[in-house]
Amino acid sequence: MQKIFALFVLLSLSQAGLAQLRSVPGRVYSFKDVKDLLKERSYDLNCIHWLKENMPPVEMHLSRDMDIPTILMVWLEGFKVTGTIRGPIINLYYTGDTSSVTALYADVQGNIYDEKRRPIEDATITVVGSGTTCISKQDGSFHLAARGFTTLVNISHIGYATKRIEVSNKKRQVIEMEVAEDNLDVTVVRAYGSTSQRFNPGNIYTVVNKEGIHTPGGSPQDMLVGKVPGLLISQTNGVAGSAYRVMLGGQHSIQGNNRPLLVLDGVPLALDGALDAIGTGSAQGPGGANPLSFIDPQDIESIEVLKDAAATSVYGSRASNGVIIITLKKGRSGDMRISADVNAGFGRMLHVSPHLSTLQFLQLRREGLQNDGLAPTPDRLPEAWWDTTRSTDYQKVATGGTASVWNGGIQITGGGQHDNYLLSGTLHRETTVYPGSTSVERRSLYGYWHGESESRKLQFNFSGIYSWQSNHLPMADLTPFGLLAPDAPGSSWGTPPVSIPDIPALANNDYSGDVYSLFGHLQATYQFSDHFSLEGSFGFNGVLTAEKEALRIAGQDTNYHPPAQLTLTNNQYKHSMVETMARWKGRIGQGRLVGMLGFDIQQRQVDYWSQIAQFATDADMNASRNADPNQFVTANNHIPYRYAALYATAEYIWRNELVGTASWRRDGSSELGEQNPYGDFWSVGGAWIFTERFFKNSNVLDFGKIRASYGTTGNEPGVDSQLIETYQPTFPSRGYQGLQGLHPVSVANPRLQWELNYRDELGLELRFLHRHLWFSAAASRNWTTNQLVRVPTAPVVGTGKVWRNVAGINVVNQALEFEIQGNDLKIGSFGWTSALNLTLPKNRLAAWPDLEYTPYSTIYVVGHPLGDRKSFQYSGVNPGTGYYSFRTHNSNGIPDASEVYPSAGLVQYYYAGWANTVRWLGWELDMVMDYRRERGYNPLVMLDRQNAPGMEAPSELSNGPVEWLDRWQKPGDHATMQRVTTQKQSLAYMALNAYNQSNAWSMDASYFRMRSVTFSFRLPKRLTDKWKIGTAQLYVTGNNLFTLTRFPVTDPETQDPAVLPPLRTIVGGIHISF
């Protein structure tokens, strides 16, 4: 009988059987033992001599009923040896290619998957001891040379916890990796791809959105406040839906764009700044509406903040202010899961100084007249002839209301093995602290869909957002009207010539705006081979605004015969992007190389359309809500923008120890002048993970990395229509002889270029004490040259100003950043996580050739921060005379225009943020606080410029804060304010004017603020199980709970007393998931 068995057939015997065989300790058989055993059964074993000499003894558990093939299979499993049975003769053959003992063992084979059974590509399998490595292929499979039946290996991959297991070559291994709990290996999104904290050679800070609770701020920026070194985010005012000031790494551009590039799921946003073109204004102020408010925070997975050259340079001409990448949430395969979140609460204006009472106010006014030697006649002091028993707190009337906040959201996710989805819907409603009915409402829908082919070679992701926001607000911030004289009759417009604002009547002037935002991104990848893939991406985002402002006669002083004026504005921002990217990755030598070449085309169109009509009566306006072609003048403008880029990056990681990266990008943009349409940007970077070489067995230091980068970025002009001479409609009027007019508004500058920014950075990252302590430090410098400055043309040119690149201007920003994190520090059943960051920025105008010949010579000072100004040097109130005094040679104490000296202005010295999470059983407390040491505008000087203490102001907006009471009254007084005056011809007024132009304009505006506190309680499992819900969490969140500052008059964040300060909001809610 001749039986021929290929042993691989045997190998496919049931694993259960093998396991059973192996589980009982067997006897150790040498080659001779097996030969004898076979002999007993009348079989001869033949093989080459080398095999006979070198076959190691094998432990086997054999039983009598086993047939010959089974015995052979058990014996030869794991060897590169095969056998044939021909009658009574068994021949063994060695299948390996070299003759060494170790080569006898078969390769370990297997597949690596993630917890969702998706193959993991590029995982590194390293044999412990020998250091032999192999890499998994696209389908997760690997082959590893072995030296025995079992091999101890480390399996590692970015984003997954490194696994140390014993693998066997006796069967095909199925290995499942778990997503890393090690935050070093969590995926970090970067330009056109991802990396991990471990290997990242650049400065990228990731803020991961907290699962579950939906914080009530309603804007993505809130997630970042106080958390990211180098990033300063401030509210422009306390009106719902207003824009934020975002500055990353300091002020780079003197007059150009200082906003970071915003990238949402790979698509640069059409509106990277504020919706500042929105109408002619609303209470949201000159900054307009927040362009990111269409993204609901609950739909955000993470936000990455990119700072240095290695991270940003590949974004080229738009990256000089850094990049903020927002990544939306993705779906999760598995059974459908639903979570819902509802919360509600209220907000009130943050504390500001109270205004003077009637008694105090009149005292100041009388004192002013007395100081001027004038009698308080009705002409000079009308307020004293009003009903002085009145003392209305107009601050309270204008901004003393309570705002309500309401949020509701639902999220559904699920999917199968090859696709998954996420759908999310939210409603958000906020009101304001103004009188009348005001509201900001947003409804948004977000959807995500992922799909892939069976082979997983073809994959796609789709994400889309639709949001509709409607705002009903007053046409202007009512905060300034809080300055109305406290005994003023605030319910009529007064008798000519005094026009007293009627605050309730002002509410007749309303602004309503609808903002529709649409965002979509489709990305598809095809994996041609193990090494090469091609990616195509299409993105679109559009913002449509429809706004209406009704300035009613009922909202104006009729003594001046004002018309009713209706302003309709429709703006459209449409932006689309097509991107093609080829990626190659593979091993070269002892490292991995990832290379990428991409091409990017972007197109944007901005359309402005507006109509303004004037009507004789409010009724006419209300009747004709829409365009009457005879009454309206339309402004209609299209601003197209086109942009194309070619870019390449390469990154090489050598033995998980050294990382080298380089990028290059060529940009072409229609925003640049005909003579300079292209620019090249590049960067190089590297990192050394020195703990791979040193401190390998340290119990203190787990991880250490030194990184460095150098490169260039640019800053586009962003001034569109300034490139050519253009005409626009004249201001709305009845026309001239029925003809609507056009006039020129700009003058051409064909030489426009981008600002060029060079940056370098050196960073150190350390992790101690078994992942519990993290420390990072970074030192960065960047120089911005070729600055775009809006230079006034000679008045003779007749067109105002024109943008120019001024050669030789150099703005230098330096920063030191530190961060310490304590992760999951356990004290009994308390768990504590804490992150503290500190930034020390330094801004300097290093050079501006011929500054003295420009109109900015009176503003900027070479060698000083951009925020510094030349101004008179204020030296306090003279206790003898009561006048403000200055450094001057003049005998009257008033400095000449030439007596200006550089002095500190708006400067940041340092800022720090501290985030804490404390957990105890189901309870959790989250706190974010920050401290800023900086200078800001002096609100008292800002008030003075409107109206000084004691003076009568137009519209009787003459009141002021209680700080005004600290004034000089008699010789010997030491006061912060000088003697009050009512006369513009007085010496006191000249001193006041000089004071307002002095260095007193800026002051210390440092503050500490408890940004947010969230206290939540997770219902115990026994309750949730009983009620058949997944999880349930109750929470209370307070924003801006308290502030510590010495800043006078108003809030140090907004600084301007004419602007509504931020609100303190408290919200309670519940989050449930099924």
Binding site: T580, Q614, F615, A644, Y727, G741, V796, G798, Y853, T982
Partner: protein, 460 residues
């Protein structure tokens, strides 16, 4: 196989790159209102000219709507600020304490050149256009040249030797220094002569606005030229130019003083139509609002200049707050929402009479001069002048100019300066007067932009 794919990929990218340059050139010309697009058809070109008039007539300050009349009136001895604790910023004109950094004289200068730039743009655009109909092309060029001459006339009179910008080239205009007074006047004269040639005889009749005299015609250019000849001492030319208007049957002195400033006034040579729905002339705004407590009033000196029985005193001025203060009431409509009854009068026939009177007196034609002065006096209800002898007749002409043209377009201010009477007349009225106050300061911004340009004396 793989390499072939890479090569194909690289080729693809290379092709895209080649297309890149083309791609980033936006077809801006088609999207934005560039001059070549504006002046490619009659309607848009008309709109551009209308834009100039709207900017001339818009609001209360600007250059031509109110600012010149008010500022120059305050600088001279026509207007005062009503005493009150908060004086308007224009008070610095009254007190002749302007400084180069002040907002108002700066705005006046800037707004003047804003109009110059718009007019230059129209002139360039119209001249370069190949698609406008010839009649429109000529008329618009003429209107723009007339406008430019008018603006430069005031710039040179208020600021002295000013830069002469005649195109819209940024780099060229930035380098301009002062042109001499003579060369500015030469340009003004050339523009007006050109406008005389290009402009039609009749006023442009816009549909719905038939009969309005709000767009200059040939006679308007001639009237302005008459004034320029007078200022330049070209008496015969002034005489003949003014005669053209006086002999033109379309123009006559309105018998009723109340009709002079109305929109249908037959005395009008050129008027500006108010362009805001609820806003009438700047004059009405300044002197009538707020009712009863205006910011600006007539000087006692001017009120004293009216002879007894002068109808203009009762028709064109009015006492307020009892009779403490007097305000001009040439314009009376404050709210034109139901339709503008009054237009801002820029050039009118009465001025041509006094131009010719002065020109005649200067060359010794005293009888002719007296006849012209009397034409104006008769309308005001006064008997003929009793002046005899050249000096007296000239004085009578100037007196007549003072009361007839009061608070109009700075006539008084310019007359005092050109007749070298500013110092002798203003010193008694204004103790702070300095002879260097006759010119307004060149704004700081202009001096900064043009190194080497000198400030007017008295402002250094």
């Amino acid at each position: 196989m793989t390499y072939r794919r890479y090569i194909a990929g690289s080729l693809f990218v290379a092709l895209l790159c080649a297309g890149c340059r083309k791609f980033t050139e936006t077809p801006a010309e088609q999207q934005l209102m560039t001059p070549s697009r504006v002046f490619s058809d009659d309607a848009d070109a008309e709109a551009a000219m209308a834009g100039v008039y709207i900017d001339m007539a818009y609001g209360t300050r600007g250059f031509m709507n109110g600012a010149i009349s008010l500022d120059a009136g305050l600088s001279a001895d026509e207007l005062d600020c009503r005493p009150q604790s908060l004086l308007p910023p224009e008070d610095s004109f009254r007190r002749n304490i302007l400084s180069p950094g002040d907002g108002l004289p700066t705005a006046l200068f800037d707004n003047g050149y804003l109009l110059v730039n718009e007019l230059n743009s129209v002139i360039e655009g119209v001249r370069a256009s190949a698609s406008l109909s010839p009649a429109v092309q000529d008329r618009l060029e003429g209107e723009a040249e007339f406008g430019r001459a008018f603006v430069y006339f005031y710039l040179v009179n208020l600021y002295g030797a000013v830069p002469l910008a005649l195109g819209t080239d940024l780099l060229q205009n930035e380098r301009l220094g002062r042109a001499s007074v003579d060369s500015v006047y030469a340009q003004v004269t050339a523009d007006l002569e050109d406008a005389q040639r290009l402009l039609p005889v009749d006023y442009f009749d816009a549909p719905g606005y038939e009969g309005d005299r709000t767009r200059p015609n040939r006679a308007t250019a001639t009237a302005m030229l008459a004034r320029v000849r007078l200022y330049r001492g070209q008496w015969d030319l002034a005489d003949s130019a003014a005669s053209v208007l006086i002999n033109d049957p379309r123009y006559l002195l309105e018998p009723s003083l109340d009709s002079v400033f109305l929109s249908g006034s037959r005395e009008a040579i050129w008027q500006l139509q108010p362009v805001l729905k609820n806003f009438a002339t700047a004059d009405a705004f300044y002197y009538l609002l707020p009712p009863g407590r205006p910011n600006f009033i007539l000087t006692p000196d001017l009120m004293g200049a009216f002879e007894t029985g002068d109808q203009r005193e009762s028709h064109w001025t009015k006492g307020v707050t009892g009779t403490t203060y007097f305000i001009p009431t040439k314009y009376r409509q404050t709210n034109p929402s139901a339709g503008a009854k009054e237009y801002e009068m820029v050039l009118r026939l009465a001025e041509q009479y006094v131009i010719r009177a002065e020109a005649r007196a200067r060359v010794g034609n005293l009888a002719g001069a007296v006849a012209d002065v009397n034409s104006v006096r008769t309308r005001a209800g006064l008997p003929g002048t009793s002046a005899t002898g050249t000096a007296a007749v000239l004085a009578a002409v100037l007196q007549e100019r003072r009361v007839e043209l009061m608070t109009e377009w700075g006539h008084r201010w310019l007359d005092l300066k050109r007749t070298v009477m500013a110092d002798s007349t203003l010193v008694p009225e204004k103790p702070w007067w300095q002879t260097t106050d006759q010119l307004y300061p060149i704004p700081d911004a202009q001096l900064r932009s043009s190194p080497g340009m000198q400030q007017n004396p008295g402002y250094q």
